[in-house]
């Protein structure tokens, strides 16, 4: 069953340049559509600055979307306000990238985990403590550590506390914004495995945002590739990694290191830098760096089309 449905979501930011300067618009997210099923993990990959994080925050209504529609369990949540919005917060939560910035340094772990319960008026003091103690066991910390402050923990432990905080209200959907990018590789797998087991236990759906292709491959059921605020390819994880269609996806996948020195590799090296999202190229935004680009690409904006069952690509040459 579809849990989350995003239709033509746009997130534009207006910047004032100087006192008399012109206003310019940054199109961080520019017409993105996808859906997330119950119990599923949707991976979203892309370079820095392609709008992945803005997309996550926009879905959570942490920033107000410019246009488009977000449906949760079939209900339009794009314009929710007040109490309805607060109730929605119980359903979807976020895990942040930086485990050092995402926990209030002056609060104990107990304060941090109890806050969501207090905000939503769940239980009394004793019941809340029980819930927290139960939760902290699930993320592999001890009860005695509840009175410790964030700086007394390692990066991995902090990230697990961040995950526990997101779970206190029993949400259905977790937006994970680069949850392991700031961690050591050995700790990464620990946190990823924790996320997988929690997903099974609580029936969670994840929107897993990352720039790390192998991490996304490991955890996702389906993967969306973003470039300059648009989804360029969306498919089942195995299909996408074994049979990439869009030239950008091909280039990204060819850059993943393979731990075998003998294997011959055909790397596709993209020319130039990511264009500024302020001055986006015309037509297909990728044409400035695309090895397959033709004259048409400068004028025609490619639609995201279903090429084979469940495999969507936005390229006129595929």
């Amino acid at each position: 069953m579809t849990l989350l449905e995003v239709k033509d979501l746009k997130q534009h930011f207006t910047i004032n340049k100087g006192f008399l300067g012109k206003k310019t618009t940054v199109k961080a997210v520019d017409g993105v559509s996808f859906s997330v099923n119950e119990g599923e993990t949707l991976g979203i990959v892309g370079e820095s600055g392609c709008g992945k994080s803005s997309l996550g925050r926009s879905i959570l209504r942490l920033i107000e979307p410019t246009s488009g529609e977000i449906k949760y369990k079939g209900k339009n949540i794009t314009d929710l306000k007040g109490k309805d919005l607060k109730d929605l917060r119980k359903e979807m939560q976020i895990v942040f990238q930086d485990p050092f910035a995402s926990l209030n340094p002056r609060n104990t772990v107990r304060d941090i985990l109890e806050a969501p319960l207090i905000i939503h008026g769940v239980g009394n003091r004793k019941q809340r403590l029980e819930m927290i103690e139960n939760l902290i066991g699930k993320i592999g910390l001890r009860k005695e550590q509840l009175s410790n402050f964030p700086h007394e923990f390692s990066g991995g432990q902090r990230q697990r506390i961040g995950i526990a905080r997101a779970l206190t209200l029993n949400p259905k959907l977790i937006i994970a914004d680069e949850p392991v990018s700031a961690l050591d590789v050995s700790v990464q797998s620990q946190v990823l495995n924790l996320m997988s087991s929690l997903q099974e236990e609580f029936g969670l759906s994840y929107v897993f945002i990352s720039h790390d292709l192998s991490v996304v491959q490991h955890i996702s059921d389906r993967v969306a590739v973003m470039y300059l605020g648009k989804i360029v390819e969306l498919a089942e994880v195995d299909e996408l990694y074994s049979n990439p269609q869009h030239p950008y996806t091909k280039a990204l996948l060819s850059a993943v290191p393979v731990p075998d020195p003998k294997q011959k590799r055909d790397r596709i090296i993209l020319q130039g830098d990511l264009p500024s999202p302020v001055n986006q190229p015309t037509g297909c935004t990728f044409h400035t760096r695309c090895p397959m680009a033709t004259a048409e690409c400068k004028t025609i904006v490619p639609e995201l089309r279903e090429k084979s069952f469940g495999h969507w690509t936005a390229c006129i040459h595929v």
């Binding site: 925050r57 959570l60 942490l62 919005l85 607060k86 917060r89 119980k90 939560q93 976020i94 942040f96 990238q97 930086d98 910035a101 995402s102 926990l103 209030n104 340094p105 002056r106 609060n107 806050a115 969501p116 905000i119 939503h120 961040g162 905080r165 209200l169």
Partner: protein
């Protein structure tokens, strides 16, 4: 923490000076050798001696005892002004920084107006309008003092308001005021509280200044500024009558400054 505060000799001196002031104020009746208000014309303008270690003034009052009692007045003014203006300034700064937009504009332009006057001039006019008394000086200084805290708190709020832990509280559905009090204020109040400890000295100095020009404590109150003022005319015959209240002000301001500087060094590692 305590050891780090006292690792600097200057901070230790500051602490000792402030401690002496607190001690004098707390035990004034036991320390003072005479009644500070007791007039004795047969004994006027005595130089420092074993009977009157700081001498006597133009109506024969013991200057040492007056200084000891005066510490109570100075400390009261310093503490109350900071206690009134600090929370007001802090709250306004936090609200301006966190909510931004029009609220920010209104609050910050208001502080600009207050800061564009020299504080002591504004305090003078307020104290003069309300009538000279130490309570009105206190009120006038509190009105003048809050914008400094507003400025400081606003800038530290701006630096943390986009931190991920704030965003997380928003994602959890926390009310803006909960975020303000639980997340933002505890993490942005340190610089302003250091300023407050430095300000205790400056407030005492300003209050003494207002009393000196006759807008504050009125005779026969043993306020240090008022004592300086009344000893002005007899400076040539009796140097002690002006010197000792002046030194009392000097050491008090110096003490709070050294202590405040020490606190800043300890609480803000970036300044070292």
């Amino acid at each position: 923490m305590v050891r780090r505060i006292f690792s600097s000799p200057l901070t230790l001196i500051g602490f000792i000076l402030v401690f002496i002031l607190l001690f004098l104020a707390a035990f004034a009746p036991l320390i003072a050798t005479y009644n500070p208000l007791e007039v004795n014309f047969s004994n006027k303008l005595q130089p420092p001696s074993s009977a009157h270690i700081f001498g006597t003034d133009e109506v024969g009052r013991d200057i040492f005892s007056r200084i000891v009692y005066g510490s109570r007045i100075s400390l009261k003014v310093g503490l109350l002004v900071v206690v009134i203006s600090f929370p007001v300034g802090t709250m306004l700064g936090a609200i301006a920084g966190y909510f931004g937009g029009l609220v920010d504009q209104i609050i910050m332009r208001l502080t600009d107006i207050f800061l564009s006057f020299p504080g002591i001039i504004l305090a003078m006019s307020i104290a003069a309008a309300l009538g000279p008394s130490i309570e009105n000086v206190l009120l006038a200084l509190a009105v003048v003092w809050w914008p400094w805290y507003t400025r400081i708190v606003r800038s530290s709020v701006l630096s943390i308001k986009n931190a991920e832990f704030i965003e997380s509280s928003r994602a959890l559905g926390a009310h803006p005021f909960r975020i303000l009090f639980k997340d933002i204020l505890p993490n942005s109040i340190a610089p302003a509280s250091i300023q407050a400890s430095l300000d205790l000295g400056f407030v005492i100095l300003a209050a003494a200044g207002l009393s000196f020009i006759g807008l504050g404590a009125q005779p026969p109150s043993p306020e240090w500024g008022a004592m300086l003022s009344s000893s002005r005319e007899i400076l040539r015959e009796a140097w002690w009558a002006a010197t000792f209240p002046g030194l009392a002000i000097l050491f008090t301001v110096l003490g709070f400054n050294l202590l405040g500087d020490g606190l800043r060094d300890v609480l803000d590692p970036k300044q070292r």
